[in-house]
């Protein structure tokens, strides 16, 4: 199989313009057909002459090296150059071509020089890890916090309303079975405590019901809506909680509202997804989701810790200790059993960790 269309690399001696000229053998494509024509390139300083590599030695092109568009040098590929008249040169016999081009001012760019050396590549890897870690731990949370408090403030309410409407309409949330009297009493007491602990934080307390294990819960929506479910207020007898304990949980949810956690989580998850797509987008869309899920879980655990801390402040501002919350955790633990997922797969820090944090806050 005749593969090398390059002639042997000993061209005819140069005519009058001798001096420090270097010659290379190459294949030339004139852009009008796909036939490869063997040529010689003679480079003197920044001047280039392209001549046919046969007895005729016809001059095909001459000019400066800078008039050509040179490809980046890859180790196992010939150098390619685009001539201004539309022709292409394929230079297999590279020899000192790189040196000659560098001498003429057409050396490799900074990026290419970085790519060539292993120390530079490993330094890049280190830089990548540091930048990514910094962005994940500091950069993105800070940016999300700023955006949540300064940019998306107005949209939050609408988002919360939309979600609530969907939950209500989709029969996910049923009307509460708690008596109106009890609802009003809890709401009033909570309003009092909230005014003391977090003045200026607007919220709305709603009562709903979900059947089954999911019903032992309370959650906050963007815009300040706190939903308290019947499972916590003692509807089905699984838990018997005092008012203080319920209010402790509501304090935790108020912490979510005050710090705009849900909005920040949305922004941070989106940011993590974009980051994962940039880092691993090459690989597969699906594979990029795993780090996003894990990364997002870490963020929610941070938020839960922050909400727990606020709950302690909330109770403290109203003259109570964290013990109601501790009691609540103990009851939850007996309800769900001791085996739970490892911490890094869970949305909340482990119960043990939350209890320890609360214990430390008890005076």
């Amino acid at each position: 199989m005749d593969r090398t269309l390059n002639p042997p690399s000993s061209p005819a001696p140069l005519p009058s313009d001798a001096g420090a000229a270097v010659a290379f053998a190459a294949a030339y494509f004139d852009g009008n057909s796909a036939s490869a024509q063997p040529v010689y390139l003679r480079i003197a300083g920044a001047q280039l002459r392209v001549t046919r590599a046969d007895e005729s030695d016809t001059l095909l092109w001459q000019g400066t090296l800078h008039a050509l568009r040179w490809s980046e040098a890859f180790r196992h590929a010939p150098r390619q150059a685009l001539l201004p008249d539309g022709g292409t040169l394929e230079i297999n016999d590279r020899g000192e071509l790189d040196t000659v081009l560098t001498a003429a001012g057409l050396g490799p760019s900074r990026v290419v020089r970085l790519q060539r050396r292993w120390p530079a590549a490993l330094a890049s890897l280190l830089a990548l890890l540091l930048v990514t870690a910094a962005a994940y731990v500091y950069g993105l949370p800070a940016a999300a916090k700023w955006i949540a408090f300064n940019v998306t403030d107005g949209i939050e309410q609408r988002l919360g309303d939309l979600v609530l409407q969907e939950l209500d309409d989709g029969d996910f949330l049923a009307p509460s079975t708690l008596s109106h009297g009890r609802q009003e009493r809890l709401a009033a007491r909570f309003a009092e405590m909230a005014a003391r602990a977090a003045p200026g934080v607007s919220y709305r307390l709603l009562f709903r019901n979900i059947d089954g294990p999911l019903g032992v819960n309370a959650f906050a929506l963007p815009g300040g809506t706190i939903v308290l479910l019947d499972g916590l207020t003692g509807g089905d007898g699984r838990l018997s909680l005092t008012d203080e304990q319920i209010l402790g949980v509501l304090g935790h949810e108020l912490g979510h509202v005050k710090h705009k956690h849900v909005m920040r989580r949305l922004i941070q998850t989106a940011g993590t997804a974009v980051g994962a797509a940039v880092l691993w987008g090459d690989i597969a869309g699906l594979a990029a989701n795993v780090p996003v899920s894990l990364g997002a879980l870490q963020y929610t655990r941070d938020f839960e810790r922050e909400a727990d801390d606020f709950a302690v402040e909330f109770l403290h501002a109203n003259g109570l200790t964290p013990s109601p919350l501790l009691e609540f955790f103990r009851q939850i633990e007996s309800l769900s059993g001791s085996k739970r997922a490892p911490a890094f797969l869970s949305t909340h820090p482990s119960l043990k960790e939350r209890q320890e944090r609360l214990q430390r806050a008890v005076p």
Partner: protein
Amino acid sequence: MTRNHDPFAELEPGTLRDELNPELAQREAAARAQREAEEAQRRLAEHARRLEFTGDGAEYFRIWIVNLVLTVVTVGLYSPWAKVRKTRYFWQNTVLDGHRFDYHGNPWAILRGRLLAVLLLAAYTWGTDFSPTLALATIAVLCLAAPWLFLRAQEFKLRNTSHRGLRFGFDASARDAYRHLLPLPLIWFSGAIATAAFGASETTILALSTLSGFAFPWMHHQLKQFQHSRAHYGGLHARFDPVWSSFYSAYFIGGAVLVLVVIGLVILTMAVTSLAGPGLLTDASSALGIAIGALAYAVVWPFMATRMQRAVWGHTTLGPVRFWTYIDSGDLLRLVLSCMALTVVTCGLYWPYAAVRLARYRVQCIELRTTLPPRELAAGLQPAAQRASGDGAADLFGLDVGL
């Protein structure tokens, strides 16, 4: 096909052998035809050239990591330059008959294209959260623009790829693209469209979803057909013979394997987690689900890809050039699994090595067969005729859809 000899020369002059013995004549004609076909096949095989790939994993790792850092530090703005460099690396390391390919995409055009894509994606994502009308409007715009976008993407990709100094090309009018491709997003989003237009019932939506599911192999085939049948190089136009039955069999087999694999993995997972405790399953369900999905995809994709590649290349011709691929699902499966395992274990650092290995395998499986010797073929090729109107638009937005 020229006949080198006169069939009647075999007859003895004056006899009426054929008329008296038609069966014998038929058999002789059949034998002659077969000999000629075999000879043509031999001539085809004589000028068979396989593609080669000279890329190196270590070299590409260095290129990849440096470009990745630059992309991350510039929050993605450097990515078009990284993409051009990567594409040039893979093209310039692909060899046919001793000569390389090349890519000339303009990074600025690609940057404009990517910013446009980000805007549309943002509009859609935030639209679904805040304003359903915005989301619907975005989908509508995307559906209507999709054929045009795909056309521009193909033009950009092919016009910027060259071999032996001649550029490839893609020749299709907008009307052509719409006629061929508009049914695709319409069928795919038929459920959403029906709901928005006249509030369809759940059964209607279910029926439409099932219909679009069944139509998916056909849609995939339409896309490939449009892609391959409008490409041209050196004055030669590509042809693509319809082969949608192969696509259907590929998807059917892929679906069957997927079901088996998912069932197997789910059983395995439940067995493992029952040892660890009930809490593990509910808490880790999303991560486990993704892991099962990724593994299933890695196992199923080689089977489907092999079948479809064989079908597509076996039915594509470029003038007198026929294609063939030696791709084998067993080899590809082993390759994909080992690459995936190593990539996961190294947290993604093995990826550039894996990319080079995959590219090498796929490229080196492809073979070109012609009856003409390559030199003659090369000599007969001409540059693509320039379409004055199309070029500006193709360069304005360097759209790459990754198809």
